[in-house]
């Protein structure tokens, strides 16, 4: 039976060619689109590492003209006064490598024998609690760390550990990275530029609120604050810092805004692909329906020669599935070159997923489209199909 079907496909190669081409192209379109979608979907599924709901971020105005003492006092006042407000739970400070800012601070050092490259952010001791960072081992910064320890304490993310010190417990170990650093804790992650960014090695350094570069204030709020409340906070801050040129950003809004530039192409691609699939499905359905009509005589004859209705259904479905498989295999041969030759920026695993998913989608569509016409074909009455006028 299988050989018979191959013969049928081969002998009709000229008329099958266009259909092959169409399925092949559908595969390529799906592959390209799904690679992008899968890549982002996988990123989306990794933990962001911090909480954006009911968090505000305040970019304070520049205080470099103040000396560090009065700057420290000012920030202390801010912290104290704000934490007394009824809906504010916690205050923390950090540098400008802040969530969704697009700012990056990256450093590299190979004096430890191999190159370590890591993103950097500087935060104070309240940061983990305010932003709900998950410390998986060791501890976060605390008061002790301000008291001139021997080594500069740092916190790294799990990805940093996995990449540079796999399967080692490095808590309290010293690494050479722009001087000696002591790893005191490991956090799950801190992908501060949004859920669609790659996981990268990340290192948190300790800063004190009085430092000038810690110009971003983080506020953890109780749920359900209103604009009026924000106005009150705004006024309070303005009164303390004697300036209005700061802005309060809602982290959740920032997160949404930030991810929108990725969501738009994803949604656009998915909707266009869905439409293309429907279009191709309807087209295939039509073509099959016509082909089966054209081959009514053949069907009648096969029935007369002893084919059962299920044989007919099977034949037509197998015919189209083989044809599809051929096109998909051809598509895979092309698509597989991308990860094999390392073309393009995506990690191979995404591409393999995309290949598998594209192939599955196409096979399912084709099978579903073939079911009805093939069933219709099997119902063709031999006597009518063979009737000579």
């Amino acid at each position: 039976m299988i050989r018979h079907i191959f013969k049928l496909i081969w002998n009709k190669k000229s008329s099958n060619f266009l259909m092959l081409l169409e399925i092949f192209l559908s595969f390529i379109v799906l592959f390209v689109s799904l690679s992008f979608v899968i890549y982002n979907y996988r990123l989306l599924n990794k933990p962001l590492g911090f909480e954006s709901q009911d968090r505000w971020m305040v970019y304070l105005n520049d205080m470099s003209e103040l000396d560090s003492l009065s700057r420290g006092q000012l920030k202390e006042t801010l912290e104290l006064e704000l934490e007394q407000m009824d809906r504010i739970q916690q205050i923390a400070f950090g540098n400008y490598a802040a969530p969704f800012s697009g700012n990056n601070s990256i450093s590299g050092d190979d004096s430890g024998g191999f190159l370590i490259r890591s993103k950097l952010a500087t935060v104070d001791i309240n940061f983990a609690e305010t932003m709900d960072l998950q410390v998986t081992s060791g501890r976060f910064f605390d008061d002790r760390d301000y008291a001139n320890p021997n080594y500069e304490p740092v916190i790294v993310n799990q990805f940093f550990m996995d990449k540079y010190f796999p399967e080692k417990n490095m808590i309290d170990s010293i690494i050479v990275f722009s001087g000696d650093k002591q790893i005191i804790g490991v956090i799950e992650g801190y992908r501060y530029n949004g859920e669609f960014t790659e996981e990268e090695p990340m290192m948190l350094q300790l800063g004190h609120p009085r430092d000038n570069n810690l110009g971003v204030m983080y506020i953890d709020l109780q749920p359900g604050t209103t604009a009026a409340y924000e106005e009150a906070v705004n006024k309070k801050i303005a009164d303390i810092v004697q300036d209005e040129s700061f802005i309060i950003l809602n982290l959740e809004d920032q997160r949404k805004q930030n991810s929108r530039s990725t969501w738009i192409p994803i949604i656009a691609l998915i909707s266009i692909c869905t439409f293309l699939c429907i279009n191709v499905a309807l087209g295939l359905f039509g073509i099959l329906w016509y082909n089966i009509n054209k081959r009514k005589g053949e069907i009648g004859l096969r029935r007369a020669l002893g084919a059962h209705t299920t044989d007919i259904t099977k034949q037509f479905i197998l015919e189209i599935i083989f044809l599809t498989a051929l096109a998909v295999i051809l598509g895979i041969v092309f698509a597989i070159q991308v990860p094999l030759l390392k073309l393009g920026p995506l990690e191979p695993i995404n591409l393999y997923y995309a290949i598998a998913l594209s192939a599955a989608i196409i096979l399912i569509i084709v099978t579903v489209c073939a079911l009805h016409p093939s069933w219709q074909a099997s119902k063709i009455h031999p006597a009518i199909a063979l009737h000579d006028d």
Binding site: M1, R3, H4, K7, L8, N11, K12, G297, E298, G300, L301, R302, R303, A304, L305, G306, A307, H308, T309, T310, D311, H381, P382, A383, L386, H387, D388
Partner: protein, 221 residues
């Protein structure tokens, strides 16, 4: 071999009711070569389809090769058709996308015969109709007579007891027609195959054992 009792066949559409067959009673013995004649539209093709289990009568009893056929859609009927019956058509009904040998192998395919054996039997059948050297050709490369001989090869490849031929010479000139007729006669004599043939041609009909005449759905002789 074939026994039809009180066969009625009525075609109904929304508006009209057409009686295609009216109280047909036929008994055909094993090894008989029977021809059926009648004007266009008299119901001869319908009759043949009923004998071939391709069409269900509205009422009446059909017994083919000692088996009464009840359900026309069952797997058993399909297998029965495959084993017992062979068909030849006026317009050949060769599958254009399949080569000559693949066309001939077709009935064996549904009998789940293995490829090697299929090929051997098909060549044997083609040899018996004198087309052994045309196995790789496609139907559109053959003349009408050759096509019909391929069709006959296909009909006999499964060694059926009964051969049903619907105007097998209708699309052929007299030379080719005679060639085809000779093959059928020879099959009937050497293999004792029962043959029922619908025809328009008195000359062809005369060569058969018995002639049935149908007129307006009824048997007149």
């Amino acid at each position: 071999m074939i026994q039809l009792e009180n066969i009625h066949k009525v075609y109904r559409t929304k508006t009209i009711e057409t009686t295609a067959l009216n109280n047909i009673n036929i008994h055909i013995k094993k090894g008989e070569f029977v021809s059926i004649m009648g004007p266009s539209g008299c119901g001869k093709s319908t009759l043949l389809n009923v004998m071939g289990l391709l069409d269900e009568p509205t009422s009446g009893k059909v017994i083919v090769a000692d088996q009464e056929v009840a359900n026309y859609n069952s797997k058993a009927t399909a297998a029965f058709r495959n084993q017992t019956l062979g068909f030849i058509f006026q317009s050949f009904h060769l599958i254009p996308d399949l080569s000559v040998i693949d066309n001939v192998e077709l009935p064996l395919l549904y009998r789940k015969v293995n490829a090697k054996q299929r090929k051997a039997l098909a060549i044997q059948a083609l040899e018996s109709v004198g087309l052994k050297n045309r196995t790789g050709h496609f139907p559109n490369q053959l003349s009408g007579g050759q096509k019909q001989r391929v069709a006959i090869a296909r009909a006999i490849v499964g060694q059926p007891d009964i051969l049903l031929a619907d105007e097998p010479t209708g699309n052929l000139d007299s030379v080719m027609g005679n060639e085809v007729m000779d093959i059928l006669l020879q099959l009937n004599q050497t293999l004792n195959t029962t043959i029922v043939m619908v025809t328009h041609d008195e000359n062809m009909a005369k060569k058969t054992h018995r002639l049935l005449r149908i007129y307006d759905g009824s048997q007149v002789a």
